[in-house]
Symmetry: C2
Subunit: 316 residues, 2 copies
Amino acid sequence: MAVYTDVAIEELAAFLADYEVGSILAMKGIAEGVENSNYLVMTDTGSYILTLYEKRVKEDDLPFFLGLMEHLAARGVPCPTPIRDRKGKALQRLKGKAAALISFLEGVSPGVIEARHCSAVGNALAEMHLTGADFAMHRPNALGLSSWSTLAGQCRERADEVESGLADEISRELDILHECWPRDLPRGVIHADLFSDNVFFRGPRLTGLIDFYFACNDLLAYDIAVCLNAWCFTSEGRFDVIRGRALIDAYTSRRPLDDAERAALSLLARGAALRFLLTRLYDWLNPVGGAIVTPKDPGEFLRVMRYHRDHPSLEP
Amino acid sequence: MAVYTDVAIEELAAFLADYEVGSILAMKGIAEGVENSNYLVMTDTGSYILTLYEKRVKEDDLPFFLGLMEHLAARGVPCPTPIRDRKGKALQRLKGKAAALISFLEGVSPGVIEARHCSAVGNALAEMHLTGADFAMHRPNALGLSSWSTLAGQCRERADEVESGLADEISRELDILHECWPRDLPRGVIHADLFSDNVFFRGPRLTGLIDFYFACNDLLAYDIAVCLNAWCFTSEGRFDVIRGRALIDAYTSRRPLDDAERAALSLLARGAALRFLLTRLYDWLNPVGGAIVTPKDPGEFLRVMRYHRDHPSLEP
């Protein structure tokens, strides 16, 4: 949510000399994405995003992320696509960081989420899952179930600073999830972080899915579960059935869920809530010195997790 | 250099409903200007900057700043102009802050400053001074000579943390400046902060002067002095005669300097160096809790100030 690496205009000009994107009209550091430095670059051929990948994104993963965006965009999924230079290269280096020039998408993230947004998200998510089916590369989910125990261990000693008893509550959740986590559901490429700030709309039309830097191979229904938590809960941690149904109905109209997926949704959402609770808790307990980003409240997903525990079915 | 106040898209849409600017295509928080929150707003009629004025800008001064930009832009000076809403209003409120929608200017700030940039800046500065002559409003320079003693007093106790003897050195400078400061030079509206990040170029063409939030009435030659310090010194604090001459020659080709102004330039630049030394020193010694902006090194202008003390004429 900030610019960590300053790029001077001469450095940008030298970088863009390898591209067919015209001459620079403007360059603005923008607040977008969580962990990287992003510049909006306007040229006489259009607008682009220049991203410099900061340390939280592993360079080895970048060919997967950029390849996926290119694969999806080429097949009509509304997402940014990496621009290749004259030699056909998309992944570059700039100021000692991995960097890429990416297409700019119109649209804005909704502040107030309505059922129509959830419907559009369900639709686009299914489209992404279907289109990702023949993407050849593979990346395990670095923030999947097996990583949660590690994160929980790192937070255990101080978790109760957030709320008394939280460390034990997380332990019990982990035990249940390890015992009950479904293994045989349909798998594929998932976005894994499709929160509202990663989805653009223009009026009623969904114009973009962005920020594929958590994308990976995992259970497709887990991606729906992440979206249910991100799009269909009130700030008080109550599930909005109207929004939830809009999201699931739109998704299933494109990619029907089998009975096992449908039955697992609540547990997957309980796990997804724990995943975001844990990463937020970790960032909360370990603020980066001189951090530009304010850590997000871990309490939000604690409430969502408890909701799912208390309501083991999402069906009304 | 950051976004301090978050504006949701619905808040922006409600704000823009009073304007004739078309429908929103995109909205990005941008890193521009020092003290305010800025958003780049793209609509189907063009691009705009939405500025929310944070606490360091006095609201009472905003009619002067916005009025000046409008006055200058209407007369061909390349600077942003406030957009008026359907009722003719430019100064608004948004999220409890004073706010304004302002035209977007193409162009980028130079990273490496060359003589041609200095020439363009000299030219534009003279044009601004000439065009500002019939601007009716008046604002004293809140960061003029009389404020420097106050600032120096606030820094005195800890100034030597930056360099031993600095507090006394500043005192001696102030004594000399109070004694020798010229009073009878031509006055008018000055920018007072025309550093390279406040000037945009497209190729060789200067496309914009921005950030008029220090503009005020003061000695016109003092504005040249600020620019000489900002544009014509190496990072080691050495004056670049070629750049200096380019700036002064271009300026005087539009607005000739009289002998008294020419003779005073070095002393004015010495004072201007002290002004930026003092504000940077103050910010350095008093970092804002959770500051997003890294305080700038006060040493840069200490070196420039000493250069002027040791070289009481800028003429080669």
